[in-house]
Symmetry: D4
Subunit: 247 residues, 8 copies
């Protein structure tokens, strides 16, 4: 319920067009009807370009299809992450126009959103980090952002990263994806003055402990301006980067 | 704002006694004004016997005294846990009638609350667990409950515990406080049919890892009906037990 | 052996109706004969409505069937949790009247127990938490309790939870099931005055570490009245809730 | 060295105004002189408002004074975090105009920087989180940002937070500081559409494991747009927020 | 080389039957030739009843068969633990007289060893702990010990354990096998005066962390006389128990 | 109450010397009086040489003195571990004949117990492990055992250990105390055929994590016959060794 | 770009042989063009015998084949580790001359490199450690080093190790591969005066926690001269050993 | 006992100058007397420049003085690490010529050892890492090596490190000391072709977990040729580097 609607309701009561009892019924749940306002605002925001996001992992194909059908009916679009091949194939059968990026494990249906300001640069340390990096990149693109990619620039061969320093500095926000020791965000954070979102990946073995080493490394970064999301959470990095880009 | 107040407000608008604009001002923050109602309900509940609780650890004596003064002014009582000797002495100088239990590290000011139904039994495994057990017992007493204590009945000498089996079974809820391997709640949970709240303590050394061993043991209890609170959290156990006792 | 039985025995000895040697035989194992009494009490309690519970995970279908046959013969009922499809199918072939809830992974045979007082509300944060939430709900129902459900009310969209505040406050005990950061029990614990049993789930990835993040979050809850059970332990929450409901 | 400076240098050589040997001296360290250029750029940025930052913890008072003297000589200002009372007193004796915030443990000397766009809102869950929250707020102010504060709005009493929803939504970026279960960022992230930087604190005991519980909770946040910094790292949150605010 | 052999050698040198240079050759490697003696002593000890033990896990069937063939050729017997069905079937094809215990995953070939003094009692907490308990029992029997078993006597139903107290006290050493919270060794250690070897098992879920909870519980046992082996290490418990039994 | 006492009581009832009511009073607590029998047996066993043991850490000097007074009154002796200098001085003032071993932090009062069979060898890896090793040795001596010591024989200088191989093999049980990587028990376990009790110590720094590295190393020992106690638990090792020595 | 090349370029500009604009183009990327020089140096070094190394795990067969084709085209050789059977078979179909070591999971194509000085000794504790040990040995051989192997010399049977003491002392560097308690490097480090590279393996179960126990043991080694690489990182040990051998 | 001594002894027996029985006495402990040969070799090696090393932490000043007196008597020198001010002052009173480096916490007495080949470069990331870096540097100098230092070259300001690239490449071995995220060894390992020994330090806070983050980062380094020692173990790095330098 918007303030305008509330004004109208009160005017109706003042004018005798609405009985106090009837108004009471509508108002006494106001605290909770008001909060759905936020949801409606959210929906409006989504209609302005940001599709809803379904985390497919741990859901059955039936569940994902049903959720996407509901989203599609409401907004004409949906965006899903961590989609297995089985889920993607099932969705494509149901939504032939859907786009599926198998590397990023992202499914997407909907019109191209209005372009948003600012460039998001997704930097990845190694080839094995690409699925997470692509998840971030594809989600950011689905949100309407301009996205650039810089791949295979791990700290053991710094010259590849330094050669792209100017490109890095042009970005509005940099997402840095790295596994193993997770040192890349510190180096990038020392080069640029824009926000750096670090995404640890579970790439590694032994004492990487499923990405813990990279996560701890990034949390202890000696470079200012670095913040961190969960291991392998490319989507989360894109969502945060999108919020940063919006003025 | 109660439903009655809302009815009155709407009646005032309908009767022209209140302009829609003025009503709007009062109503548009309703979601948040309504929630303070819950706080007022909460205050009422407190006035029925449950004093506010101040976690003193990590606060300066000045801060604790200031908070207790505000609580005392509002409700005529206060209850504080983890009170160091310094804090307790400072409070006693300010509130001469305050009661201080140094073993439990609890301070308490206020009239005796109305008695509440049900007996809370606080069982502790060893002498070193007594501060945590007493925190639970003293807080429960401050809430108006009847409290019994059973001390030094660790699992390495089961006969002491078994000798009190009937007393244990009479309780409405049993709080079991134990460090080291934390096995006592499982044994108690196998004897009684009432809820058992397990409190791991940081008593131990080496591989107790500050209470982690006891915590994990209690979470993995093979006895049904056992729930767990944080390490050394005697207060939390008493708060939960109090909620259980209230029908 | 009750006190009455003991008086009778001693009277028999005093009257010469029982030789001291024969009395000795009966008395020297008294500690252990007495404890089986507790088991019989327990059986009696079970016959009053609470079926035995078999944890099926890690047992072969043969073992589960054999245990259920023994329980069925003794009590006419059984209740099993963590039942795989294979086990459930095997049991249904043997006990055609058995009810199987595949989502909750619970199997149940037996007459409807006598209703018990109090409503248990099972609140779950997300769709992926449903199997654990349903295990809790179905077990509580099998114990004879009235159970209500509130699903998909995670803290990132608070209005859904707040809209149900009144329903939450009506419950005798609330079971809150959540994975990822496990923040929901703190929010619920701040709304209600009844006991809250928090069930962390293994839902999540990366730094959720199989439910550890949710478990730690719940143990550190800043809301009073929250106690915690093991990760994914819907059964344990139901068992504790049932004990709380019984006056 | 900018491209323009490099063009000028080469033109000087071509014109005979600069001997090749002299140019060599300046150019042969170009890779490294160029990177110090970045430092000079950085210095320039700092002179525009962002003071250098000294992490005082683990340094002797002598070391901190010496470093601050060098910074002061170069830029006329310095900013220090984690300053103990001993260090602050020593610095104040040397720099009488220095400002010392004992709660935030921050020392600052320098002119007021030019105001920067955007408001940074610092939200803290409890009284004990204030030192970390103040570190973030004071550093952001030293960087020239407009800072607002919202204190003691932990999730166990949601109405206090919800009452400030509009204030929260007005911010360009929200820093959320919380210990114990660290649930507050998830709730804030569900309310606003701007970036949320979560700062776990070491406030808590037992299974908080020095802030690990809050850290894991925040990393697993179910709300989009939340990124995380190290435990107690108020400075890092301010630095990242500052980068976000700068268009 | 025995002392007798060394005397003989020196006598040969003194008598001129052996040149100093030839003696030197034999003596200069004495440290290492002597240590193989220990191996021969070890072999002798094995021939007196203790078969060699092959840890089959992580070895191919070919490797296990080859090792068992060498052991069989040298000693006429072998004992293998953690034998998969594939390995056991391959071994039985090669050694038709071999005994295979699928529950304990133990394979054994050889004559019955001479009986050894003392009874080893293997106590297990639950049905799921049986594979580990049986590994301990079968290995101890293969070593020639008299073994008794006590099953399903977990601490949540103490009377079953207490009913067997006399049997427990008769043992020379008690091996206690338990998963989940691992509390059983503490209870047994409080009942008996003989050595108790605690074997944590990986039975459990969630916060059992693969047996870590049981392991920590046992290491922190408040009962004296309890020592611990690795998670699921039934063999190690049997080996230690066997050494204890041998006077 | 012994069986003989029970026979006498029943005979008294049969003979009319004891009224059934009076017998009832004594018998109705029989299950629990019977378990105190075990305690009395235990006391008797203690009077045969094993003094009671007080864990002084975490107790006040007053508490320790009070407990020792009670033990002294009952048995004429006491044994305390982890005694600080303050506690020891207080005890010595009260019990002038008490012996205090400051290195082992053990206090002991009582006559020399009757000698027990078997030699306990306490082997320690480094100088810093001596307090734990001495705790084990002094407790074992207080129990009446013959104790030998072998110090500073860490695995980085194996010849020192091998030089004592014969001494090691003569022991009935070997207690091996080591910090850092905790490798010594594996080496000792490979040399001897007697039980080896491994005691990890908290000696070390960095990745020793308070003794965790040594603890894990010992639990994973590749040598058979090695069992483990808690970090720094010299007393526990002595108690287990004593039980092993008693036939 | 060398200093000489820079002098020449500047001389050309001074002499009018090179326009400032053309020089600018070459110079403005100097920092980054210079670093590729290092890459070329690196390539040169590789052509002197050390093949490039591809970590195959987590890459598809297609990716590995494509990378190897590029390496083969550039250098005539490639070296791959962690190659699955599927990848190896695919590579062999493409490169018939390729050598595949299935135990070490290493693939290698290229001429025999020029021999390098120094012998690398690879010592392994048990049969299950062989894959990691072979990875180290095969990689070191591919680098042109002389490699010796010593297998199955775990610390529980020290004589086998001591018998090879002279062989161990002859090596230029010793790689020690061990799982479980990881004690072998300490023993080897105490025998030799050359560098010891310790490789923990994930061999073990229960409290080995995937190699963590061995890793911690090796990091806490009481022997000087021991350094450690990641769990199962045979390649890393070989790479470090190769650098040590090169004077 | 050297081979020459053994030849002489056997010649004495052959010549009748030594009775076989007397020779037996000297020879029967040969395995262990032989190992002391290694110790004597070790001593000889030490006299050639490498002083014995005393780890002072956890020892009393008395113990350290006594050990140093013994070392001084035997070799004329000693070297101690982790020496507190109290210990250093006590030692200086006893050995006026002793050199004490308070930053490195190293004490040293003895003539300058003969120079050894190769330069050891000690690189440290930040000012707070200096104590560990100096421990490594001072110990390496005490061993006779040429040592260079490179300080404050953390990865957040790469140009400082890159400016020293040539110096880094000239070293025979590089010791890299870093706390926080521990990324520096990866960057250095990518620049040089010599062995890199990484030393994690406990510098940091929060999620550095006492150096664990740096340790894990270094173990997971994506650069080849990097090996790791324990947290804060500057001595261990120097000892390994010294072994590497010796051809």
């Amino acid at each position: 319920m918007t303030v305008e609607q509330l004004e109208a309701l009160l005017a109706d009561v003042a004018a005798g067009r609405l009985a106090p009892g009837a108004a009471l019924e509508r108002l006494k749940h106001l605290p909770f009807e008001d909060l759905p306002f936020a949801r409606i605002d959210h929906h409006r925001a989504l209609r302005q370009g940001s599709p809803e996001v379904v985390f497919c992992e741990g859901k059955t194909a039936e569940q994902v299809v049903a959720i996407c059908e509901r989203l599609h009916a409401a907004t004409g679009s949906f965006l899903g992450t961590r989609a297995s091949e089985e889920i993607a194939v099932r969705l494509q059968a149901r939504f032939p126009g859907m786009i599926w990026n198998p590397l990023a494990r992202v499914v997407h249906l909907g019109e191209r959103p209005a372009p948003r300001p600012g460039t998001i640069l997704v930097v990845s340390a190694g080839t094995s980090d690409l699925p997470v990096a692509e998840e971030a990149a594809v989600v950011a693109e689905a949100y309407g952002h301009s996205v650039e990619r810089l791949v295979d620039v791990g700290v053991a061969g710094l010259h590849r990263l330094l050669a792209a320093a100017e490109q890095i500095r042009r970005a509005r926000v940099v997402i840095v994806v790295a596994g193993m020791e997770g040192a890349l965000p510190s180096v990038v954070g020392g080069i640029v003055g824009v926000p750096v979102i670090a995404v640890p990946t579970s790439v590694g073995y032994g004492a990487s402990f499923g990405g813990l080493a990279a996560l701890l490394g990034m949390l202890n970064s000696c470079a200012a301006g670095v913040t961190v999301v969960n291991i392998d959470n490319g989507f989360g990095a894109a969502a945060a980067a999108s919020r940063i880009c919006q003025p």
